[in-house]
Each structure stands twice: as structure tokens, then as C-alpha cells.
Symmetry: C4
């Protein structure tokens, strides 16, 4: 019996949340889960409809993209996941979707401004949109470079991946991550909702102001850090 059974199950269940949360249609999207002790991650096989997906179809790879277990071809975005796990050592799961409103902001090549406390409950920064990749990189090791594109965006913005768990790839769509695959998927849903709220806000008031600093700080600290008081301890 596979030693990765629990990891595959975590990955499978997180993937199956995507269609339930209306974040994907057909085979779009993919979620991975990592086992830090074993140095491997589990990811959805490429192009398999969610309705057909089974836990045993999940593919196990190391952080250099070697398949460790599994008969199916892993997600075409696998190299992006691998690079993110390799360099961001505290993340436990990654989720990628083509959810509608997040994609629309990515196609508009704009950061999602922080307009309200729903946003500040999750991060204190605008959701960054990484600018499209240089042509020579696209023609090369594209999915690997997508990971690099995310890192470059975070370096450029001065962001930590622990403070901001979501990014838009310009003209493509969102990647989100978190302590677990389930948290990564949670962030995909939250991002889609923030994208939709921000879109509507600007339609109602094109001059809507960013949330002021005192409210950003207050709401973030209600949910995060030593003095947080949201949820059950």
C-alpha cells in the first residue's frame, strides 16, 4: 500500500472542493498538497474532469519534478507548484483556478485594491497582479518560470508569502496557497469574492477610496497574530 495515501486523499479532497465552490468548470484548475517530511507533493493529474477524478489518480512528485508515484501525467502547471514548494518552505498547499472575477482582474492587468474589511480580514495589501512574462521566458521553461514570475512580483512589491497568500498572474489567473491544501482552496474562494466585490465597488463609485490604515490594521489583527480574537483558540 502507498505510503502517500493520506497525502493523496488530502489533495483529492481539496481538488473536489473547486467545482463545489463554483471556481472551476470541466478540467480547469488544480490543487496540490505537500508532505514536508518526505519532500514530496501530490497534485491533480492533467486534464481529468473532476467528476472522474479518484484519489488513486493523484500524482506524487518531488520538488525537482520527478514523479515518485502515479501512472498519470501530472497537471501541466506542476513545475509552478514544485518551485513554489521548494522556495516557500512554510506553505502546505497550492491552488490554481480560472475563477471568473479573479481572471477578469488578471486580464485587466490590475492589482485588486483593498476596499473593505472583508479584504483586510485576509491580508493588509492589494492583491498583486504579476505583469506578463518576457517573451524569451515564455518560450523556455514556461511553467517553471511562472513560479519565478510570482517570486519576482513578491520581491518587487516587498511582500512576504506568509502575509499575502494570493496572486494574479497577468492575463492568466489566480494562484493561492496556505498552510494546507484546504486553506489554499479557501483562499481561492475568498479571492474570487474579493475580486467580485472590488469590481462592483468600482462600478458603483469609480473614485471609491482604499480602506484606511486604521481599519486595515484592526481587521487583520482581529484574525491574525498574538492578539487575535476571531475563531476558537
Amino acid at each position: 500500500m502507498s505510503k502517500y495515501i493520506e497525502l493523496k486523499k488530502e489533495c483529492y479532497e481539496a481538488n473536489m472542493e473547486l467545482p463545489k465552490l463554483d471556481l472551476v468548470v470541466y478540467t480547469f484548475g488544480n490543487v496540490s498538497a505537500v508532505d514536508r517530511k518526505e519532500g514530496v507533493f501530490a497534485i491533480k493529474p492533467s486534464g481529468v474532469p473532476y467528476v472522474d477524478l479518484r484519489p488513486e489518480d493523484i500524482v506524487i512528485l518531488d520538488f525537482d519534478n520527478n514523479v515518485i508515484e502515479g501512472n498519470m501525467r501530472p497537471s501541466s502547471d506542476t513545475k509552478t507548484h514544485a518551485l513554489m514548494y521548494k522556495h516557500w518552505e512554510k506553505i502546505g498547499g497550492i491552488s490554481h483556478t480560472h475563477s471568473t472575477y479573479a481572471v477578469a482582474w488578471a486580464q485587466a492587468q490590475q492589482d485588486i485594491p483593498i476596499f473593505g474589511t472583508t479584504h483586510a480580514d485576509h491580508t493588509t495589501f492589494d492583491i498583486p497582479c504579476a505583469p506578463p512574462m518576457a517573451d524569451e521566458l515564455i518560450q523556455g521553461n514556461y511553467e517553471h518560470m511562472t513560479g519565478q514570475q510570482i517570486f519576482d512580483c513578491f520581491i518587487d512589491k516587498g511582500f512576504s508569502y506568509e502575509d499575502v497568500e494570493m496572486v494574479l498572474i497577468g492575463n492568466h489567473g489566480p494562484f493561492t496557497w496556505g498552510k494546507s491544501a484546504a486553506k489554499a482552496v479557501y483562499n481561492s474562494k475568498v479571492l474570487e469574492e474579493l475580486a467580485r466585490m472590488a469590481y462592483l465597488t468600482l462600478q458603483i463609485n469609480p473614485n471609491a477610496p482604499r480602506l484606511k490604515d486604521a481599519l486595515i490594521k484592526k481587521h487583520y489583527e482581529r484574525k491574525h497574530g498574538a492578539n487575535s480574537y476571531y475563531g476558537q483558540s
Copy 2:
């Protein structure tokens, strides 16, 4: 056996309406129900997903935020509810959501204009958007001051909480209330629909006029007051 079993059940059932009505995702939102005779109210515990919520998880508090019964931490918005129950003596329930269109208006920092009879069936006034709180208050007893923020907005507008059962907190989202927790939730759903209709109205016609006074009066009086003739008596 708890003497608050019925109150907890009322509170639980009203909370469970929120996801069914598409007003919340995950743990967003909270509904409370009051027992005026006992001087206590029941509220959702903080950060518990609706799918896991049980009637026995509901927390009972008095109007000074002392926990009377329950092992879980109450909603992070509890102090707002407490203050509202303390000062608005005829309300029986309060509902708070982050429903999409209501939040968009709150983030746009605009009142929702009364454009039609759907709105006038429920209140004769624009839905007020309370301006964001002063920084020094945010850093203090924030959730308590959110209640004060609502009172200040109603004083400023000259509104009675019996005539207008809904408010937007600028940059945050809606609070609604009513004779019961179920009525508070009903008002959350109605508000979301009014917010959506008003948004679409302005997209179609940026110069759409407010509903004229004769129609406001007529529709409100069809449903409210001595000469109402809507519903079964």
C-alpha cells in the same frame, strides 16, 4: 437542561438561513436572537463554519457582554449586537453578513437610493451608509463603537430603528435587525436584493430618478401601519 434551549434554537435556525440564502460563505456573518424577559441574547460562536454549527454551540450573553452560558467564544462582532439590544429595546434579532452587493455599496461609501416599490415595500428611506469610524475609536473598543457608529448614523439622518431596519457600515458591510432573528435575516436578504437592483438601475440609467413620494408612501402603507392590506391579518 438549559433554560435557553428555545432561544439557542431560534438563533441556530436563523444563522443556518444565511448560507441557504447565498448571503455568506465559510464562517462569514452572524445572527443573534434576544430574550427580553431574561435580558440575554444568543449569538453564533466565532469562526465556526455553518456546516459544523450545532444549536448547542450557540453562546448566551447579557447586554454587557458577560457570557451567561456556552463554552465557545462568541462572534467577534458580539459587542455590536449587545449595544444594539441595550439601546434599541424593541428589536428581537440582529443579522450581519458580508453579502456581495451590500458590501459593494458599503465599500463605495454610498447610501442605497430608493428607486422602486420593492424598496418602498420595506422602508421609505434610502438605506444609510454610516461613514467610517474615526481612527482613535477603531484602536479602542472597536466592536462596541461599531454599535455607536450605527446610532450616530441614525441620529444624523433622523431615522428611527423601527422605520429603517438596515444599515451599511462604510467599508465593512450590512447589519439588519427586526422583531425576531428570522425577520433580521429576511431583512439581510431583502437588502442584498435592493442593493443589486439599485446597482443595475444606475448601470442602465445613471440619471434614474428616486421613487416619487406618492409611490413611496403608498407602497409602505400597503404593508405597514393601521391601514395596511398586505398579507393575512
Copy 3:
């Protein structure tokens, strides 16, 4: 046993379609069905949630608003239905909703332009929006005058109720009708979809042209009249 059992059932079933088709929430909306031979119509009781509605709750009235059978108060819009049945002798059912996009156009006080063949499949004209009622009429026999408001709008436009089976009451919402209650509800759903498509069309292209006459004629005649060839004969 009531002689109106079949009529009540027709009315009940047509009403129950409204929530299934996402055209109403709570108690909004009402559908009626007529029995021309008996000179009566059946209508939803006022303020009853769809989830509680039973066939035996349906109220039977004549065209002068006298209750013929039923213990409940009929819909507050009953007089509008009665007047329409009295004067438009070939209609078999009437439906009234507060569906979102149709209400938005009504609140914008604009006719819905005919932009495509989906529209022309159902009528060759823009969907008319009746201007708001004069104040002195609102204060009088309001629901009766709403029927008159619809007639006046059709006279003003030169429309026949057989050619155009839908209208928007300015600042209120849509009424639709047809050969049967089921057809009236069908028209409510079609109208909501036409309203949504027209809204999106203008958002994409504010100068979108009306559908040209040759296409209007062709599509309408595919479905209506002596040479129609849509559906099973």
C-alpha cells in the same frame, strides 16, 4: 367539493414555478389563472411564502373583485389582475414578479430595446415601460389604476396585448400574461432573460443598434402566425 379545483391547481402550479425559475424570493410575486366560462379567476393569497402555499389556499374572485371562494385575503395586486381579465378577453393567465433585471429596467424608466432574435422570437416590439402613475391616482384606487396604467401605455404605444405579452410598470416591476397561467410565467422568465441580455449588450456596446426589421419579422414569423414552423404542430 369545490368546482374550482382544477383552476386552483393550475394557479398553484404556475405560482410554484416562480421560485424554481429564480424569479421571486419570499412572498414576492403572484400568478393568476382565469376560467372564462365561469367568469372567475384564481390568485395567490397575499403574503404567503411559496414554501407554505397549498392549492386550497388559492382565492377565487370575479372580475369585479368579489371573493367567490376562499378564506384567505387575495394578493394585494388582485385588482390589477381583475381589470386586465375584464378588458383583455383572450388572456388566460397573468404573472407579476420583482425579478431583478426587469425591475432594474423599470426603475431606470426605460423600454427594453429589441437587440436580438431571442427578443424577436417573442415579440416584434421593444418591451414598454409604463411611466409612473399620477399622484392623485396613486392615492385613490391604486391597484385598479395599475391595470388602467397598463392599458394607457398600450394605447399610447399602439400595441395589442396579443402581440406584446409583457410590460414594465415604471419604478415597480413586470407584469406578463398569456393564453394560460403557465404561459404567463414562461413570459416572466423570458422577459427577465431579455432584460439581462439587453443590459449586458449596452454595457459592451452603448451604441448597439436595434435589430433590423427583416430579422424581427423573420424570427417572429418562425414562431407565430400561419406560416410558423417552430415547434410541433
Copy 4:
């Protein structure tokens, strides 16, 4: 027993996907499937609600519109399908809907620009919108000429039907096709989602740039051609 049982079943099942995917209401839309060896295609009967549709209702015709088997009148759009099968010899299925966002672009008479990789995953070109038909053709053999209208649009754009499997008929709505009826329906859903994403993109940023060539090429080649690496081989 009919020799077309399998073909009818394929056609039936593809049709039944349309309401499940929220692409149609009532009787709108129709899907066909072809049997190249027999030189016939199967299509939905005209005006039959999906809820009533049965596999045995499906009509079999040859490419000159002669009914080969079936007692019901075929879809009013049958001649369009026939002409497409006759001239585009590698397509296996055709789908026609009135899905909301695709219709809105058709009514706006605009091509859907390629804004992102979701689009490039499926085609490298803007989705073409065929200009409305000349009046004299509308009055003639209209549905036959709709097929011609599609061919003319593709000739005009220099498109191959194998590279672009979708088109908007100006003021009408989308037709899509593919190797099978199921693939044609898949393309209907993808088109609707591309139409919605492009709409939102332009609402957020009216100056959103087209996707750059290197990304168009890369994403299309990930999924298509000799060096594709998406899905299971």
C-alpha cells in the same frame, strides 16, 4: 430496431447537457451529432422542452435536409446544421444556444477579444461575430443562409473551422462545433465563460490589451498539436 440508436443517444445526451450547464432555458438551443459513414445527422426536435425530451424523439436527416427517421419536426435551425456538416467534413457535432453573455456580444455585434490564457487554451483568435445577413437572404432560405453566413465570416477572417470551433451570429447567438456532439457542447460552455470574462475585463479596464503573441502561442500549443502536453495521452 433503429440503426441510429447510438447516434440518437449521443445527440440526446449532448442536448441534455445544455440545461445542466445553464446554457439554455425552456426549449432554446439545439445540438446535433453526425454519422459520417451513413451520411446522416441526428438533431433535437423543434420546441420540445428538455425536461420532456427522450432519445427516441431525436430526428435523423441527411445533409440535404431529408428526414430519414423520426416522427417529429426537427429543430427550426436544422438547415444550418445540415449545411455545416456538408461543407465542414471533419466536424462530428454542432451546438447552438442562446447563452446570456455570448448573446450579449452577438447583440453588441463585436468579436470577443482574446484577453487571456483561458481563451488561448482553446483558440488563438478572437471569437468572430458574423455581421447580420442581408435582407434579401433573410427573406429567402434563412436557416440555410445562416450556414452560408458562418462560412462567409470564416473566409473573410481567413479562419479554419478546425482552428476556431465557435462563432457568434450577429444579433442572434453562438454556434459551436467539434469532433463530437459532446465537444461541441463543451465549446458552448467555454465560449459562454470566455464571453463573461472578456465582458468583465473591459468593465474593469476599457483599455485592457489583447494577450501577447508569445502567450497565445504557448498556451495553445500546450493543449494542441504534436508537442502538446496537457491531458493524458
